[in-house]
């Protein structure tokens, strides 16, 4: 298994205890900008929650952090290293030290659960098959899926699929673990189990955890710090207590679950998402 940590940036002034630093990040799809200059820092070892409503840009932010979308401006630094300027092999090394759990699990349907977890080990390490088998069992134990290595993903329930996806994300012992909507689509009991698992992982491995969610109960339970994104900008950034005491109208609306005014036209919906007034209405 890989043992090298993500190489730190040796540049003077680079923040030493910062896992991820985002500066003036902009992302656009074609001509439409969905993230408008976002900046924040995620200290190493903390659980950082990105809150936001549907279409707020939180999933785009997460996809950009893991390299699936390319910023149109600004920079992302992982352990001080600028993601945009490093070479492809360096980026691959960083990716190997990060784990990502997707909303629907994104397990490979043609492979068993065990093969899914083993895949990054087989591709990126020189471990022999018997060692890989032991590591797979260990990872499945950690997420409460002991004995499920020979099941196909289609045979698992939604909650079990998410746990299996977490086991795969843990396979390379990541320093940073990303979760996209870990509780989405799960009943409250299963969702509480996933929250508990995230807390357990943080306690056991002291890893940096970044969670995108709109589930308030879950967010306040697992977060050390959180940001609230609305229309592609950060409207609040702080600890859970600071967010709960915030007087910002959008934060209050989100936390107090106040509905948006009814949208009847497509143009109003786009305006709600982007926060931009259409040219013909200016």
């Amino acid at each position: 298994m890989a043992t090298n940590l993500i190489p730190k940036d040796e540049t003077p002034g680079a923040p030493a205890d910062c896992a991820i630093s985002v500066r003036d990040l902009r992302v656009q799809y074609d001509a439409r900008e969905v993230l408008h200059g976002i900046s924040f820092e995620i200290p190493a070892g903390e659980t950082f929650v990105i809150l936001g409503g549907s279409g707020s840009g939180k999933s785009t932010l997460l996809r950009t952090l893991v390299g699936l979308e390319h910023p149109s401006g600004g920079e992302i630094r992982i352990r001080g290293r600028n993601y945009a300027t490093i070479s492809e092999p360096e980026r691959d090394e960083i990716l190997k030290r990060m784990g990502m759990s997707f909303q629907q699990g994104a397990l490979f349907g043609s492979m068993t659960v065990g093969e899914n977890v083993a895949l990054p080990l087989r591709e990126h390490t020189e471990l022999d098959e018997s060692t890989i088998e032991i590591v797979v069992r260990l990872k499945l134990d950690q997420v409460g899926l002991t004995g499920f290595d020979n099941y196909m993903p289609a045979q698992l329930s939604g909650g079990m699929r998410k746990r299996a996806a977490i086991a795969r994300a843990l396979a390379m012992d990541p320093e940073i673990l990303f979760f996209d909507e870990p509780s989405a689509g799960l009943d409250p009991i299963i969702a509480a189990g996933i929250d508990e698992l995230i807390l357990k992982l943080k306690k056991a491995f002291h890893m940096t955890i970044v969670v995108v969610t709109h589930e308030l109960a879950s967010a306040f339970l697992i977060a050390d710090r959180m940001i609230l994104i609305d229309k592609g900008v950060i409207v609040a950034n702080g600890t859970t207590a600071e967010l709960q005491e915030s007087k910002h109208p959008r934060v209050r609306q989100f936390l107090d679950r106040v509905p948006e005014p009814e949208i009847s036209e497509e143009i109003d919906y786009l305006q709600m998402l982007t926060g931009e007034t259409p040219p013909d209405r200016r």
Binding site: L68, F102, A106, S110
Partner: protein, 265 residues
């Protein structure tokens, strides 16, 4: 939109599409022929799995279709040849048309239906289920991981299937020759061997390698281009079949032209 603008846009889109196919083929070729010599992994296990699906599992249907095509060719050939009292030339007609043209082409059409569509459906479903994204976040290149094994399997298996199809076509012709044209099985095969030249077989095999590249590139490209939603997978699959058949026929035309004008006279 004016006609010239429509033609211009269609041309640019067509060239961009072919460029996309070339890029995908180049990436897969690099993963198969270059990367293993630079310490990269050649996923032989996945390639063998693909070769079984593309080649071995296609044998029954390719055999049956080629046999029937051979019989049809003999029937159609005999219909004209007997007017000139040249029914004994039917074996020549069957083997030349099978090896030069119908063997490679019919095999490619069957493989498009079985494997080209399946490549598009497999990769399209993976795209919709975020499995392609998952590969990228694990620092695994989807072209190396998914396309390269298919590429290797296709360029090895399609020529093999084509050779087998040529043989089955000759057997189909022999079925007619023996039952209705006064040949014995031995005389039919002897007439076939006399008519067979290496150039015919080689041109057919070169075409089949080109068809393999087209089928793999189009199937995978359509898979990667799948939009959001499961119904898009169906569209990608249909599109892969239609575009593959068109491009295979186009490539066939180009190579048949090249072989005609470069053949020794």
């Amino acid at each position: 939109m004016p006609l010239t603008e429509t033609i211009g846009e269609a041309t640019i889109n067509g060239l961009a599409y072919v460029g996309g196919l070339a890029q995908l083929t180049g990436g897969a070729a690099r993963a198969v022929f270059v990367e293993p010599f630079r310490g990269g992994k050649l996923r032989l296990g996945r390639a063998i799995h693909q070769a079984m699906a593309v080649g071995v599992e296609a044998l029954p249907i390719v055999s049956l279709i080629s046999f029937f095509i051979g019989t049809i060719l003999a029937l159609q050939g005999a219909y004209e040849l007997r007017k000139f009292g040249a029914l004994n030339q039917v074996a020549n007609a069957v083997v030349v048309v099978m090896t030069r043209e119908l063997g490679p082409l019919m095999t490619a059409v069957v493989v498009i239906g079985r494997s080209g569509s399946s490549f598009a459906a497999e990769i399209g479903t993976m795209k919709v289920n975020e499995e392609i994204d998952a590969l990228e976040t694990m620092a695994l290149d989807p072209v190396h991981f998914l396309v390269a094994p298919k590429f290797l399997a296709m360029i090895l298996m399609l020529p093999c299937l084509t050779t087998w199809a040529d043989f089955m076509g000759v057997l189909g012709g022999a079925f007619f020759g023996v039952t209705a044209a006064g040949f014995t099985f031995r005389t039919y095969i002897q007439a076939t061997l006399d008519a067979l030249i290496l150039h015919d077989i080689m041109t057919g095999l070169i075409k089949s390698v080109m068809f393999a590249l087209v089928i793999t590139a189009v199937g995978c490209h359509e898979g990667f281009s799948t939009g959001l939603g499961s119904e898009q997978v169906g569209r990608s699959t249909t599109s892969a079949v239609v575009k593959s058949i068109f491009l295979v026929v186009l490539v066939d035309l180009v190579f048949t032209g090249i072989f005609y004008f470069t053949a020794p006279r």
